[in-house]
Symmetry: C2
Subunit: 209 residues, 2 copies
DNA sequence: TTGTGTGAAACTTTTCACAGCC
DNA sequence: GGCTGTGAAAAGTTTCACACAA
């Protein structure tokens, strides 16, 4: 059995979201790979292959139980437990993430925020306390924070990264438009909001893909 | 010659950003694929192969001229002209995008925003006027808007999508956590902020990739 | 008959490795 | 010697197609 690719994991997240919709809609207790794939504009082959990496979840001739597939995918994505998360940088993007409701639904709890601006410090935003960087070590430890999100401007990102690494957070998601690198003890992913836009401008200019 | 993949295009955006840094730093007028790739933690083979899809930009034994590669990549990404963009949904994320400086640098001009909240309408935010949906057709046409960004909650996304399609925008970037589909006349990309987080929780739970 | 699970084929992307110019 | 450009090999991903279970 082989290792699933990162794209497979990303699609698992899509499957989970679609299953949650279906679960609310309460149509039938089961769904076929065809029908679920159609919702997401992918092939049923790909859906079945993605699930194949993790085991056998369906019944031949019937399909997948929505509830049980939902809980299996939650487990695969590590969402069967809760995670404490902090947001670093409470500018526009940081505030958007603080207010984002999609996190709590998946037991991702934002428990603290950090900023350098003295006017923001020790105030709450969307119910979350904003701390100065000097408090980071203490708060990360006391609140058992394992995941950090960097939402600072480019200039502050490297300083924050180093602080987070020394606080021993386990994973970091970076939204600042710099490609950051972390030691292997920390899992780091860079996300760039404008990259996708450039995919669009490329397409509009040259008419491919 | 083959078509570049979407990943190749995304990396082109990274290369451009790195080259812009180098250009500011004014170290040497040229850079080798090795050195540029090292900045981005990828292999020099991959960088050279990515460029290969578009032509020959380097000189053997020397490397690439930073300035000329920069302008070539800008052209490839369609950033050698300017684009008018609108933001749909002026909540936290929409506001973050309105304030985001990275767009203007690449001649992506946000020229209008739309929202359903009467309290926001006909007011400016980050210097951009917010219009009601009823004005969309008029504004899209008069401001020659070709690209739209959806930053509404899930519930509003489909309505906005349909309006945008009927206004004949050419490309849409969707940040709402639903997978939207558009007719082939419109290029649509879905971006989900929480998907990347799930990649991290998956990794932390199972220790792979 | 319906629809999963999965080898095998087809296709895509990355890496290797080296000829050829600076 | 240094470094690009690029065929060819290797690795990875998606699609095909069908055995088999309900």
């Amino acid at each position: 059995m082989k290792k699933p690719s990162r794209d497979t994991i990303s699609r698992m997240a899509l499957y989970l979201r679609a299953l949650q919709e279906l679960s609310k809609a309460r149509t039938s207790p089961t769904i076929s790979s065809q029908d679920l794939a159609k919702e997401l504009n992918i092939s049923s082959d790909q859906l079945r292959r993605d699930l194949w990496y993790f085991g056998q979840f369906g019944r031949r001739g019937v399909g997948y139980s929505i509830e049980s597939l939902k809980s299996k995918i939650s487990q695969i994505l590590g969402l069967n437990r809760s995670w404490n998360v902090c947001i670093c940088g409470v500018g526009n993007l940081g505030s958007a993430l603080l207010a984002y409701k999609g996190f709590k639904e998946h037991s991702l709890n934002i428990v603290a925020a950090f900023d350098v601006d003295p006017r923001k410090i020790y105030k709450k935003k969307s119910g979350i306390m904003i701390y100065p960087l000097g408090d980071m070590k203490k708060i990360v430890r006391s609140r058992a924070i394992e995941i950090a999100i960097i939402a600072t401007p480019t200039a502050g990102a490297l300083l924050i990264l180093n602080k987070l690494v020394s606080c021993k957070v386990k994973a970091i998601l970076n939204f600042a438009p710099v490609k950051l690198t972390a030691p292997p003890s920390v899992k780091l992913r860079n996300v760039d909001l404008s990259t996708e836009l450039f995919n669009l401008t490329h397409f509009l200019s040259h008419g491919v893909r």
